[in-house]
Amino acid sequence: MARNPVTWLGSPTFPNAARTALADTQLRQNLRKATGTIRARRASAVAEMPDWEALRLSGEAIKNDVLSRLEVLLPQLEEAVTARGGTVHWARDAEEANAIVLRLCRENDATEVVKVKSMATAEIGLNEALEEGGVHAIETDLAELIVQLGDDRPSHILVPAIHRNRSEIREIFQRRMGISVSDEPADLAEAARLYLRQKFLTTKVAVSGANFAVADTGSIVVLESEGNGRMCLTLPDTLITVMGIEKLVPTWQDLEVFLQLLPRSSTAERMNPYTSVWTGVTPGDGPQQFHLILLDNGRTASLKDTVGRQALRCIRCSACLNVCPVYERTGGQSYGSVYPGPIGAILTPQLVGDMHDKQAASLPYASSLCGACFEVCPVRIDIPSVLTHLRAEAVTAKGRSPESVAMAAAAWMFRDAKRYERAQKLGALARLLARNGKITSLPWPGSKWTSSRDVPAPPAESFREWWRKNRG
């Protein structure tokens, strides 16, 4: 099977990537400013809602219900979309999904497509796959455009260019658009408007993701801010939507929960500027060809894991990134995946599905387990518990490390009092290695321990020996 493009080929493990990122003071300054702003705004948007906890509990329960009934809900969605003139495709993995999109582009003679920001298409590496097939994908979300024009990688789920400040964005726009522009956000937004306008008016095929799909009506929902989403969802002749199979809600009524949870958690707004809802094809309004691709790409493997599967409740708000002390310091690119931050640390390894992959296996350690992510999560994903669960899996996959051999030896020694005392006497000799009461370097296999921490020097006499002499 091909490797899952959810992680970037050749990415260093998290600790190595983090070391490089931490040395970048500009990056840390940009992130501190941006996450600080959004944290304060989110807190006040949530404080307005006396029933916030009740909404979170409902959001959690609805998504758990979805995960337990995918077998029924997915065919139900398929039937509803088909009945309204849409075509539904199923894709087991990234490769299969990309091939379907490319085929549809070719059938429509499209050499260019406009794209609405979508995590699912970023996860499957769609742009790269299309480019190889001779189709150029134009990102139309402002932050995605900044990343694309800067030949950069995304570093945040909601705002992929969060690591760039206004003057860096100005520099990228001037260089790639051949224009002169100030670093005022309003002017930068205007530059993006002018740059993309003709593309919106003339491109015949659009590709989007989906925030939600309503199983009983077949309605697809996309939340956005700029209007680039509306452009893509309304003007082209053909619309191709790629969505993960977990994006469902059972009924139209269930949306009332998520339309309250998502905007406040994500952009800290009471409601995002634009939300589009469409069901199949509407004659005379919008694209007359609609294709929906239902994507697995590792999700069903995660579904098997009773602890890990809760990551599939995620609605991609990115609140957990904005409150994470690790993310704030290392930035998103250190995670080597389109899903960074706390949710990325639990979702990415599950989608990769191989704990022998050193990079993926390093992600569950990208956390201090402080729990801030769980507190803000609108669907109550217990990220710390999944992190520790995945750490255990990473350790098991690693097999017998020098540390685990040492632990097994210790267990043998502790089981017998005589053995234990002999070992203590022997251990007391280690004092000879100590300086200022600390041992900084032990011979192998002890070196595996002291390479990352010091050991206090053992006392000359053990407690047992002292007790025997004085009280025995």
Partner: protein, 192 residues
């Protein structure tokens, strides 16, 4: 090899996820906010809000001398003199070059300062309210629902819906909201 659909459904079955319990719904389904809260919250998102008793008079004041898209089904007395009204069929270029668009709406939400269009009479297909840079939307007070749940109940999900909360905006530069990107940069809401 099985086809993708069969295989994905088989994988789901094999995961054997236990049924979830009943969904608690202890959140507020109704709200207390009325037209005043709606006006305040629409304005919060830098839309321009007017409470008006005489809609045609206000429209005259706002639109005279402009080229404005008029979807089918608007009340005849809103199509005031002195405005160049553009009616369907309209090409993408026509819409792009119009000065603005006038519509009514399907519902509005007080809690969030949102108007909802459903492509019905007086609103037209979605492109009409997207390409012109200026959108005037008339909201009747009885269309204002207090809460998001109350508004969804009034809407038909089988129609193409657009929820609009203020003019086009972005939070993509340093996570601060800036108004005015691809959608209409000026939104004017008339409450009557």
């Amino acid at each position: 090899m099985a086809d993708a659909r069969t295989e994905i459904l088989n994988r789901i079955r094999a995961a054997k996820v236990a049924p979830a319990g009943p969904t608690p719904r202890d959140y507020r389904r109704t709200g207390e906010g009325g037209v005043e809260l709606f006006a305040e919250r629409v304005a919060d998102y830098r839309a321009i809000v007017h409470a008006v008793s005489d809609v045609p008079a206000k429209l005259r004041e706002l639109l005279v001398g402009k080229r404005i898209v008029a979807p089918a089904g608007l009340p005849a007395d809103w199509l005031v003199d002195g405005v160049e009204w553009l009616t369907e069929p309209l090409s993408t270029e026509d819409l792009d070059q119009a000065d603005g668009v006038l519509t009514n709406c399907a519902a509005a939400i007080a809690d969030t300062g949102t108007i909802v269009l459903d492509a019905g009479a007086g609103q037209g297909r979605r492109a009409l309210t997207l390409l012109p840079d200026y959108h005037v939307c008339v909201v009747r007070t009885d269309q204002v629902a207090a809460s998001v749940p109350e508004a969804l109940e009034r809407l038909d999900p089988l129609r193409p819906l657009t929820f609009i909360s203020g003019p086009s905006a972005t939070s993509d530069i340093e996570l601060n909201r800036v108004e005015g990107v691809h959608g209409p940069r000026t939104l004017e809401v008339l409450i009557t």
